[in-house]
Amino acid sequence: MFVFLLACNASATPITTTAEVVTAITVTEQTPLNFGKFSVGAVGGVVTFDAGGTVSVSGDVVHLGSEVGGVARLDTSGFAGGTPVTVSVTGTTLISGGNSMAVVGNCLGPAGVLGADNGACTFSSNATTTDDVQIGGKLTVGASQPVGVYSGTLEVVAAY
């Protein structure tokens, strides 16, 4: 009987615990970043696509209007609307055989805020659909850059 009463002095109550696991953000490339076709002289220069889509050249680079190229377009999707999302871009090197050109990237989120070169842009995720992110960049063309088709990969990371 003594043991029985002691047991009555203890009461166990379940307390609620909750967590919501959200899936990772997915990034889907819709169109690539394409610097188009251009020529370069003895000076060299820079081909710039800002993330908003505007193209410009410097030095003695001459863009061939028929193949200007364009910014990359990505879709991001993940957690529900209003969640802060950061997209960061890391530069790369375009390669053609033994030749190369350096690229820095920048991004433009749905809110229209342009990130720094090789930096990040931040926006609030869309509640009902994917978010459209544009990736621009600056391509440094060397003096008398050898002709060829150059390619490479920009790394884009999206995180909550």
């Binding site: 009987m1 003594f2 009463l5 009555c8 002095n9 203890a10 009461s11 166990a12 109550t13 379940p14 307390i15 609620t16 615990t17 909750t18 967590a19 919501e20 696991v21 959200v22 899936t23 990772a24 957690f79 969640t83 995180a159 909550y160």
Partner: protein
Amino acid sequence: MKTNGQQLYLDINLKHSSKILAGFLFTVLLQVLPSQAEAHHLPWHLQGPPKQAVFTEVQPLAFGPLSAGVTGGTITVSETGAVSLTGTVTSLGGTTQALISVNSCVGAVTTITLTNGFLTGPGANLVLSNLTCTGPGGTTGAGGCTYVGTAGNDVVAVGGTVALPAGQLGGIYTGTFDIVGTFDINC
């Protein structure tokens, strides 16, 4: 042969074992005498069953929306509500420590014991561990805490850790942990 312990005890007394009977009476006296010095705390066997602690959940232990990231990790919500993360886990807010109201046994040393649990949802169970609590007066402990009951209800805050593996399926996960309270005196 009697197999019930209580029946065996009574049987021995009925056989007039004077030593055992004397021992029994002595034991009763030992239980009564100290309590006579504390008039407001009679021994439990003289005033009926002890008052039972009643817990009321004021606020759940919530780990909110969170992402496992590449490697997974853990999220810890302390009794004060502070959030700490390990690995690649990202918290998206919405965290709260549990707040539990306990009916007070005034002056009693109240011992709270917490039992780890798990959360269930669309994927594998999430393990809830490292439960800690803080009672009135700021006494903190792992797996439980101890405090002296005050007038009215006491509030105990509880924190804990959830391990979130990489690749955990998304969705709502819910579960419980158990809380037990004992008093060192009767009320």
